[in-house]
Symmetry: C2
Subunit: 337 residues, 2 copies
């Protein structure tokens, strides 16, 4: 591999000048810079990140911890982060850290704390007290996306309020028989998200003086397939059916819509459905939802950290509340009477 020495020799200058020239630092004459760049290119020289990381103390890499890369929310956040990092010429180290147990502890130690990154962005994760402490002692900028964690800056929607707004919309249409699809996200472990949304649902119901039914508080595992099965099972039960469903995510809402199809229940005639997210598939299904923008959340999170590192405009920015707005589509309507 060609090293900086090779370039220096070939250009007849010192390695210091090569270093400056290639990084665009001042105090190098334009002529020399051009020449050095040409020669470096010719030789196929690329600086070693280990060496410059060691010498400068900056790795030009950002760590991203996520409990899953297959779920839409995480994936979309990651894409947003990626776009911001690319603009800054930063690389992304992806730590796919499952909830608890297993090698979580090991990965945390051997990898995350290994000074391979300049900053860390956590997506949809809870941290234990010990982990939080280690992160802080690591001393590099950290932010959390999706679900607040005590003591760590975060970006996310106001879970409870958003859920409340979704439920209120159903109520405003005239629904009173409303089921809720919640449930934990096995992979991620930020339990604050489903809990907050559930609270929001209950808030709205209570404020409207509508009683909830325990057997209509379903658990959909944040998955289309599970939700579909659960709602199919609900439709199989004797007795009254809900006229509306509020699901904690669009994927689960779509699962409910498919279950309705499975049972010949028409939407929105017999059943209204609302979700949270604005998933890629939602438009095609005509799903009404509280739309949020995880791509932007990810991108913003990365930009904040980058600015922390370089003293940019967003530097030292505190937690930010992301927005979610009601997106009316075809899956909601007043109940048929």
């Amino acid at each position: 591999m060609t090293s900086i020495d090779d370039v220096a020799h070939a250009s007849g200058v010192s390695i210091a000048t090569v270093s400056r020239a290639l990084r665009g630092l001042p105090n190098v004459s334009e002529a020399t810079r051009q020449r050095i760049q040409g020669i470096a290119e010719e030789l196929g020289y690329v600086a070693s990140s280990s060496a410059s990381g060691l010498a400068s103390g900056r790795t030009l890499a950002m760590g991203v911890v996520a409990p899953s890369v297959s779920r839409w929310f995480y994936t979309t956040v990651i894409e947003g982060i990626d776009s911001a990092l690319r603009d800054a010429n930063y690389d992304m180290i992806l730590y796919n850290l499952a909830s608890r147990g297993g090698d979580r502890e090991r990965v945390f130690h051997r990898s995350i704390l290994r000074k391979r990154t300049d900053a860390l962005i956590a997506v949809g994760m809870d941290f234990t007290a010990a982990e939080r402490e280690q992160l802080l002692s690591l001393g590099h900028p950290t932010i959390m996306i999706g679900g607040p964690v005590r003591g760590i800056r975060h970006i996310g929607i106001e879970e409870r309020g958003v859920a409340q707004e979704a439920t209120e919309y159903l109520i405003s249409l005239g629904h009173r028989d409303i089921a809720h699809i919640g449930g934990d996200d096995d992979e991620g472990l930020n339990r604050q998200v489903p809990l907050g949304r559930r609270r929001g649902f209950l808030d709205a119901m209570q404020a409207a003086g509508i009683s909830t039914r325990d057997d209509w508080m379903m658990s959909g595992g944040f998955s289309l397939t599970v939700s579909r099965a659960v709602i199919n099972e609900l439709f199989d039960r004797p007795g009254p059916r809900p006229t509306a469903i509020f699901a904690n995510s669009d994927e689960m809402a779509i699962g409910a819509m498919l279950a309705a199809m499975d049972h010949g229940v028409s939407i929105p005639g017999d059943l209204s459905v609302i979700g949270i997210d604005n998933h890629d598939l939602s438009e095609s299904f005509g799903l009404t939802t509280m739309a949020q923008d995880p791509y932007e959340q990810g991108s913003l999170g990365a930009r904040i950290l980058l600015d922390d590192l370089t003293g940019g405009p967003l530097s030292r920015k505190t937690s930010v509340r992301a927005t979610a707005r009601l997106l009316r589509r075809r899956s909601t309507a007043p109940p048929q009477r």
Copy 2:
């Protein structure tokens, strides 16, 4: 940050012994090792990856290049890679490199070639001749997953044969009016995949003496939504409808199934559908498919590279053909006459 010196001082040994002890090398007495490990833990010492990377020449990181992280295939491969890397204590650097253009060239240069990784695994990508050359000159182990690229080792199913088998199955059920959903994958750019599958479809049709119709060769963009729209449009057309559809991916096949629902076309009564993949959703939809296992492909790819690096059993392994097998479910049946 505590460095190896701190640990050495605190333990009263040399830094060399600390290094050995912590890495589990021989020639350290069990007693000293225990003691050093305890002290290191206490001090919160974690080796700097830049420093050890520079000194040892190994970064303990693997690069993964993928054109998308949101598509099921890529995501699943990445999860497979991740599991193998975790076992080996390797980190993953994710390069989300869109097809061509944009900053592809820049990312390629400034990041991938920056010696941040020990090996590189590319998922569903084509490379230009120049890129291939640069990769080779980089000199570290490389493998490609999903779609062959000249001159680079790869892992993948035999696209053409698998598509042929899927089509033959429809034919064996008695279908003759078969549509094909193909089309390029915008994000990835390995055009060999859709081309191979299309060829396989045509092979089977031709071998059975069935003529194909150009207006039944659809383009579904490897996306559920696009495919659904395209098939809805097909059903809107006057004239005969196909009795079966072979789609290049399960996502597109499911899109077709939803379009059938949209049009009141019953499956498999009026229409049989077969895909390729065995996507997470496929079981729930009862979709017959040529099941492949991208998780395993990713994991195997990573293990091969890891073994290349360490001289393990899979070292220097050549390209491997992944398997895909017919998985019969409810979406296929003989045509109604």
